[in-house]
Symmetry: C2
Subunit: 314 residues, 2 copies
């Protein structure tokens, strides 16, 4: 089935995700033209320098005029403002989607504002890196990653199909689910890991007994893994925390409960309990590697990058 | 200064660290012969198949006879037994060291048992992967990583120098510090990160509202990073928890305290507090990359490994 080429795709926000979309849309020839809008003048100027689109606008409303696909890629806390800025200008029949990491809040912010004449289909590509901004994007970002769409009860089947095919052409595999379930799933697979990473890096940063230089020198023993997630975009993650509060608090409570049990096992020298947990957790990584969502090489394969002259694993 | 070549190095334990040592000792020609001992017959047989040494012994005592360097690479809980098994056979003047992740406990277990005629210098190379066993080792493992030695007050200066040079020839940079301080530093940079990783993977594994298949599919959004540490050797990590109890409990308490504050900020919608923490933690990763202890590529550079046909970051 041929994928419909969009006449004009409007990208509202041109950070890591928006600029990766711009690049893959161009590579796969998914639109006749790309309109880009972002609020910060420096970012817009950079997008222009990188030739990411065909039109560049400071105001989101100007970018969406005549667009048949509008993709909102902004911190989730800004979704409502974007909806208000574009609602009067949207072309009837256009698909409006987003890439936010929380879905119920985005729907609460955008759905009441958008006109009934457009197809609003919230979405979330499960892809990213710890880098941000228009320079950080790359066309392969979505390759082999899942994109979750959370259609509303009234969502038009044909529009959903078009958006699904769009994401597949971007390299993604597409799942659909309810917004509430999405928010619960992401709370455990993404939001809690980021919070925990931010937290442990903060704890290490505050110590008096261990110097910062020691933390840095000996970080290869485990700590450095956490610093990747803890280097993610602060505005994006502040908004995620504020906009998926209930699911995150639920997962945090479970995590803390389990951690207390682990703490107790350590205090009382319960080696069997520790061994059981440490054994059980091994299997899940194997499954993730088998599902093609993770590399098989030890240490994420980074040894080769750190030691390019020598062999990797011999 | 020429590095003294050891006549015979005995490796007690031939897992990831022991077998990496065997490989680098051979590559750098650091010994005339290598004697290997490990308790499990299958592991010893595998070491022989891999031609990791010159002699293979089921009993540690048989391996250390005539050795001038003995390196104990076993789970820290087994250190005392090894010391007892070798103490009567050790050659006077030999250097005895270990690679355990906790130092005070290893000293408590080994120092009283070893004869005064040998030089006991506890050590800990800050290097590893999530894989274990003799097949997991590789000669580059220690390249550019730190090795911490925790000499005792009576340690002979010349023996310390010889061991330092040995580790440098293995590719390491060498630091010395007190055992108590080592245990505190490692509790935050290594032991706590592993515990947290094991814990979050356990929490995700226990959920009823989110299926295991969902955790696996969407793990690229953060969770998969934690599964690497949580796939580490269970016996080794059980022993670390039991043998560095006080420092780990101290770090766990601080981590939990900080997490409670974060939880409160989320509950009360304190965006500023969240933003401040999420901004502060970014800097430390940059320092780790600049120190050569981490790769600069986004996502640990693993994108290229998952998508070998296409470009990495464009």
């Amino acid at each position: 089935m041929p994928v419909p080429k969009f006449e004009k795709i409007a990208l509202i926000g041109i950070g890591l995700i928006g600029s990766s979309l711009a690049r893959v849309i161009r590579r796969e020839d998914l639109a006749q033209s790309i309109a880009i809008s972002t609020r910060r003048p420096e970012t817009l100027a950079r997008a222009r320098e990188l030739r990411l689109g065909d039109e560049y606008h400071a105001r989101a409303g100007d970018a969406v005029a005549d667009a048949d696909l509008v993709i909102v890629s902004v911190p989730v806390g800004a979704s409502g403002q974007v909806a208000e800025a574009i609602s009067d200008v949207l072309k009837p029949g256009a698909i409006v989607t987003d890439v936010g990491s929380t879905k119920a809040s985005v729907i609460r912010q955008m759905a009441p504002v958008l006109p009934e004449s457009v197809h609003f289909i919230p979405g979330h590509p499960i892809a990213g890196t710890e880098h941000s901004g228009p320079d950080a994007g790359f066309a392969d970002l979505f390759d082999g990653r899942w994109c979750i769409l959370t259609p509303l009860p009234a969502t038009d089947e044909k529009a959903l199909q078009n958006l699904t095919q769009f994401w597949e052409r971007c390299g993604s595999k597409v799942d659909t689910m309810g917004a509430e379930h999405h928010d619960m799933v992401l709370a455990i697979v993404s939001h809690l890991p980021h919070l925990i990473a931010y937290n442990i890096v903060g704890t290490a940063d505050d110590l008096e007994t261990v110097t910062k230089s020691e933390v840095i020198k000996y970080s290869a023993s485990g700590f450095r893994d956490f610093t990747r997630l803890a280097a993610s975009d602060p505005t994006m993650w502040r908004d995620v925390c504020l906009h998926n509060r209930d699911a995150i608090l639920e997962m945090l409570a479970r995590f803390s409960e389990d951690l207390s049990a682990l703490q107790r096992a350590i205090r009382w020298g319960d080696g069997e309990k520790l061994f059981d947990l440490f054994t059980r957790t091994r299997a899940i990584r194997r499954s993730i590697i088998e599902a093609g969502q993770e590399v098989d090489a030890p240490n994420f394969g980074r040894h080769a990058a750190l030691h390019p002259q020598k062999s990797d694993v011999e």
